[in-house]
Amino acid sequence: MKRFLTQYRALLWQALQVEWSNSERWMSPLLFSTTMILLFAFAFGKVDVAFLPQLYIAATYLTASFSLQIAFSRVLEPDTQDRVFDQLRTYPISPSAWFLSKYTIVILLGALILLPTLFLSNLFLNNEGPVSLLNSSVLIVAVLMLLSLGAIGVLLSTMMLRSNAKQILYPLLYFPLTVPVLLSAVESSRMILVDGKDLSYLMSSWLGLLVIFGIMYFTLCLLLFGELVKPE
């Protein structure tokens, strides 16, 4: 366990240093997210107040999902430079520690993108609107969504390392796989904001599905990551 934690800390520290030295890596998805929100705001124009919450929630999560996809797809990029990835595969490090370090980085990067996205969306899309996504229950839903998407993001990023068509393949696989997560996050938020339901009520419906997907994707990705990084 001690060895596992040491490896996890070392890998996480190395990844944090790489991310810290290059702020473009999280800034560009955030800028992308801002652009998308502005585009949505222009596209929606004046919306009937009755439809606003539904549109606002869907547009926000969609924007977050697109921006997160950009950030996730690049998570293993620094490792491919100077053949770090291939060298790490030959070292006796625990694949779980490796996965968890990448997963932690992805969650941190994701939070840096997701939270400003929620704020910006509230500012531009929901100006004087009847509901606000800056609500503790909705934030819990958004974080749960991030935890689910992060696991699948790391796994797909690892898979795409050797692919010749990763630019097109990543979104092609990421979006269909994340549909249940995105849908349950949108529906949970809608039920909290529009129908006034609380989290305990939602646990038996959409939020429960989101939690199940989170656990399932995390477990599956953790197990499969080890298989993917095994040396040939």
Partner: protein, 230 residues
């Protein structure tokens, strides 16, 4: 060489038998199945649509099985079968979407509706397509087999969502009428013919799967030998 010839003859024989059986089942469904009270004759597309949909979903479970086999046994043969499953699954998913669309036009009045079942079936088609593009975009070898197997596992997990979607979401699509608690709501004669068509479709898919898996194994051997010759 003799073995290959024997295998060719066997494949051809089985294929012919399967095609005859499938043709018979479709002819029987179109000619002798009773008309539906509500939908008239248009419902007969069901005998093609429902077996295709079930075969498409079944392909994903076979994909799951071969993906697990590839991961645990490191078998390149299982990897060929997995890819063959995805190809057959993609073909049947496409058939399901096309026949569903044709059936939807007279019954719902539209070619396409963003209904839960339709959307999730489209997602399945995209996942199969992604899987196939992924395997084709990588250099052959054990690493590609492992990665494709991991992807196959994840795709197979998405299938229960598709099946349960009709119950979870508000949908235009009719609820399951064949496999449901409390027994089937379908007319027994229609049900028997549907089962006949389903078996025919399963045999056809099985034959295609077998044929394609053999081809992929041959292709892998050729790739390996050309790689060694370089």
């Amino acid at each position: 060489m003799i073995d290959a010839k024997k295998q060719d003859r066997l494949t051809f024989g089985i294929g012919l038998a399967v095609l005859l059986f499938a043709s018979f089942s479709w002819f029987y469904a179109l000619r002798f199945a009773p008309s539906d009270e509500a939908q008239g004759e248009v419902y007969r597309i069901m005998y093609f649509h429902v077996p295709s949909a079930i075969t498409a979903f079944l392909s994903s479970f076979i994909l799951l099985f071969f993906s697990l086999w590839t991961l645990f046994k490191r078998s390149s043969v299982a990897a060929s079968w997995s890819k063959a499953c995805a190809e057959v699954g993609f073909m049947y998913t496409a058939i399901t979407l096309i026949t569903g669309s044709i059936w939807g036009r007279p019954t719902w009045g539209v070619w396409w509706e963003w209904d839960a079942r339709l959307t999730t079936t489209l997602i399945l088609a995209l996942l199969y397509a992604g899987y196939l593009i992924f395997t084709n975009s990588m250099a052959p070898g054990p690493q590609r087999d492992r990665m494709a197997a991991a992807l196959g596992l994840i795709i197979a997990i998405d299938i229960p969502i598709i099946y349960k979607s009709v119950e979870w979401w508000r949908t235009l699509h009719q609820p399951p009428s064949l496999l449901r608690s409390g027994g089937s709501t379908m007319d027994p004669e229609m049900r028997s013919i549907l089962f006949l068509c389903m078996f025919a479709m399963f045999f056809l898919a099985g034959w295609l799967l077998w044929l394609r898996a053999i081809n992929l194994q041959l292709q892998a051997k050729i790739e390996e030998q050309s790689h060694q010759a370089r």
